[in-house]
Symmetry: C2
Subunit: 133 residues, 2 copies
Amino acid sequence: MQRYFTITQLTQEFDITTRTLRFYEAQGLVTPHRRGRQRLYTPGDRTRIKLILRGKRLGFSLNEVKELIEMYGKAPGETGQLRLLLDKIAARREELLEKQRDIELTLLELEEVEAGAKARMTEIQSHVKSEEV
Amino acid sequence: MQRYFTITQLTQEFDITTRTLRFYEAQGLVTPHRRGRQRLYTPGDRTRIKLILRGKRLGFSLNEVKELIEMYGKAPGETGQLRLLLDKIAARREELLEKQRDIELTLLELEEVEAGAKARMTEIQSHVKSEEV
DNA sequence: CACTGTATTGACTTTAACGTAAAAAGACGG
DNA sequence: CCGTCTTTTTACGTTAAAGTCAATACAGTG
């Protein structure tokens, strides 16, 4: 049973515009079916869109995202260049691990700032209290 | 003892161009000293540049990075709007945590693809061996 | 001082990722 | 069937983040 999504359904679900989805299509990132001129998105298309948006959140360009998705898309059988695929996977993994470290560092720094701010707040509080006496 | 860095030193260290550093300066992200017209970067400037690049790797825009850095820069004392600062920190943290989840998911998917590829490889290997018999 | 190489400035160009507007074609409710 | 609404297509505009190029300006060296 093939359930389809319309373009507006997806734009609402993911909070993007139709322009964006058509743009992704023009870039070859999704290829919805057509009923006449109308676009019909399969659940698979929907998943791809999710992957695209996730990639974007991580700072990957659309081209990089495309490469990633194509890796998923290929069944392992039809992948002629297995060695090459494995290399790409390794490279992506390295990038992701670096991003993880970047995030950890940034979170730590945020905590420091937060601690400073909170300390400053309670300090102000105590001033207020002493003035209240 | 104030040790300075030249612009080219930094471009080499971080693998960016002079144009990029001057652009960041024009955006108010760094403000190196001058000796005549020549730019002199302090270790503090260097740290800021590191932060900028880290932010970029995580997919933040330069403006977002600027906000982040300004949060670090402000001593907690001179932060008039402590509540506002804490809110911003919380928002950033949420974003970062989401990115962490995104990374985890992507890593998992990469592992799946990798497993498939490796399985396919050993399969091919065994074919070769059986032909060798 | 002349030469050479590096820095700076300013202007213009480029690329990615959409936004916006206009015109035409379906889709639908009454 | 008519008007309204949505969708599509086409084309041009925009923004962020630099890249590229040209015209100097120094700075150090022999």
